[in-house]
Amino acid sequence: MSSELEQASSASAPKLKSRPVAASLIIIGGLIALALGMAASIAFGAKQIPLSMVWESLTHFNPDSSEHQIIHELRMPRALAAALVGAGFAVAGAIMQGMTRNPLADSGLLGINAGAAFAMVLCFAFLKGLPFLYLMFFSLAGAAFGAGLVFGISSLARGGLSPVRLALAGAAVSALLVALGEGISIHYNIGQDLAFFYAGGVAGAKWIHIKVVLPWVIAALLGAMALSRSITLLSLGDDIATGLGQRTRLVKIIGMIFVFVLAGAAVSLVGSIGFVGLIIPHLTRFLVGVDYRWVIPCSAILGSLLMVTADLSARLVNPPAETPVGALIAVIGVPFFLYLARKQRREM
């Protein structure tokens, strides 16, 4: 697989390895699996609800039934939030990996999630009772701030933006922002409100949050789709992309804005969850090739699937207590990160 890809990318004509059939199968199969996963996520939990009841609550909602109430008020927003957030983190990772040709790009590793979470801390400390919409905007701004720090500092050094330097800067910026955030939360005594932003979890998702976040995430996903051709060209290298008539700087700026929206919205909903944006794009490229017109939608679906499954298992591992989703995903993500760190040759 790697040698084929190498040939493809080293050939002067940008002939891309792409598997549209596999991609279509993944999209169809993934959507079915996602529907099943969300149904399971609604049905299972501290209180088991039969699937027939889930269906019934969708078709004939009965406000007097406590099961129907649980489904509507708790389980459905939660399943939706997991799917949204998974798609957001995964596509943010895919965009960054494609545009910067950095195999270790992930909003968690590059300090973007930490920036967004830090912005949330500031909001909780200084702007209590802000409506969720504004919280989300602050989260977006924080994401941009974190990314700006990491990319800015890395680009100061000789040799430019190497993946290693970005990863190191990301780790240090995250450490700094988490430490500052913790200091502030201790000083203002808001640790309880914030605990979940660091651990990551979809348990607190409510309909109002979904309503605010949904349009932004959908818009950014559609935007990423529209940009996908340019991302494919950028993934061949800036020189080739420029040669093919791409305005690389403009594409990168637009792409990063989509990343901030996706990651910032996701963090404002569930806190900082890393590694989704690292694993899913790699997996997707392995399955469907390197054409981002397919990589981006498939990443979105597989990312949703991963989050929904992880959230479900987080509830079932140790009931009735919940295991933080972020930690569960890290259990898969870390070995994968180590594998990438050891690997020498990579293809984007």
Binding site: L104, L149, I153, S154, L156, A157, R158, G159, S162, V164, R165, A167, L168, A169, A171, A172, V173, A175, L176, V178, A179, L180, E182, G183, I186, H187, N189, A199, G274, F275, N318, A321, E322, T323, P324, G326, A327, L328, A330, V331, G333, V334, P335, F337, L338, A341, R342
Partner: protein, 343 residues
């Protein structure tokens, strides 16, 4: 790490002695400031009287039982983290190495948390056990990182070492979060504070638990300064000079791990000290380890003592964990180094 050829051996050692005396004086001043600051204000004269055993019962309690052990612990672990970082930077030839970045602290921490989980602290824990447990965790982690970063025919690449360290650390943090969920609220509180790097061992017990490690490992490290000088020349040169590179490197690694682990056991996960202190030390006294190791120790002690005092007083009466203060100082410095390095 360019040797400063311009300075002669003699001039350099004179300079080192000067710098270290200055650092020692600073440390003494800081010690007096630290002992004077806190919720209950005491004048310098009262402090001196109390230290020599002439204070009243209340002053005795505040200074001897609360402040002094904490200050001593701060200085001890600061020195240990710094020496550990200095050794790690020498043997990996990597200016960004540090027991926190490499995940060794996290490994030590995981075992301590596991121990707290299995044996609730009130009943059976002995502070003297903690450093050994931490050492076990740190040792296993260091070995794991070493093995994952080592590749046949290529040896130990500094870059891969750092990346593997970041990854392993993320994994251990995740394991720690999963573990802490299962704790009861009391233990949870303890672990939360501990992870943030609060110097929680504020009793004399912890000083005595840590002291033997300090007294054995720090002089051992100092005595091996020449070995470190040779190792930091690089594998091939060192082998060419007739040094048993693998063996020396493992011994020094073990010393560094021991220093970090014993400090984590009493002080929690305080990162960046082992990164910042050796750098400042090298700037002040040059790259020779016989000078940079003791200078690192002094700077590390100073750094943690200052951070702990700030954390204690800035938002008094609530405390900000020392690890947080150190990270706020240390992370920008790391980023500054990163922006100048050629990783």
């Amino acid at each position: 790490m360019q040797p400063q050829q311009a300075l002669s051996e003699k001039a350099r050692s004179r300079r080192a002695v000067l710098v270290m005396s200055a650092l020692g004086a600073f440390l003494l001043v800081m010690f007096i400031v630290a002992i004077n600051s806190g919720e209950i204000r005491l004048g310098p004269w009262q402090v001196i009287k109390t230290l020599f055993g002439f204070g009243d019962a209340r002053q005795q309690l505040v200074i001897i039982d609360f402040r002094l052990p904490r200050i001593v612990i701060s200085m001890l672990i600061g020195a240990c983290f710094a020496v550990s970082g200095c050794i790690l930077q020498g043997i990996t030839r990597n200016a960004l190495a540090d027991s926190g970045i490499l995940g060794i602290n996290a490994g030590a921490g995981l075992v301590v948390v596991l121990y707290v989980y299995l044996f609730p602290l009130k009943t059976s824990a002995s502070p003297f056990m903690m450093p050994f447990l931490a050492l076990f965790g740190a040792g296993v982690t260091a070995l794991l990182i070493y093995m994952l970063a080592f590749k046949r025919h290529q040896g130990l690449s500094p870059i891969r070492l750092l990346l593997v360290g970041i990854g392993v650390q993320a994994g251990i943090s995740a394991a720690m979060i999963i573990l802490t969920i299962r704790l009861d609220p009391n233990q949870f509180q303890f672990v939360q504070v501990w992870i943030a790097g609060s110097i929680w061992g504020t009793k004399w017990d912890f000083v005595f638990a840590h002291l033997p490690w300090f007294l054995i490992l720090v002089p051992l490290a100092f005595s091996k300064a020449k070995t470190l000088n040779i190792l930091s020349l690089g594998e091939q040169t060192a082998t060419g000079l007739g040094a048993p590179v693998e063996k020396d490197r493992l011994i020094m690694l073990a010393v560094a791990v021991g220093l970090a682990a014993s400090s984590v056991a009493v002080g929690g996960g305080i990162g960046f000290v082992g990164l910042v202190a050796p750098h400042l030390a090298r700037r002040l006294v040059g790259p020779q380890h016989q000078f940079s190791l003791p200078a690192s120790a002094l700077i590390g002690a100073l750094l943690v003592l200052v951070a702990d005092t700030i954390g204690r007083t800035i938002s008094s009466p609530s405390e900000i964990a020392t690890g947080i203060v150190v990270a706020v100082i240390g992370a920008p410095y790391f980023l500054y180094l990163l922006s100048r390095s050629r990783v």
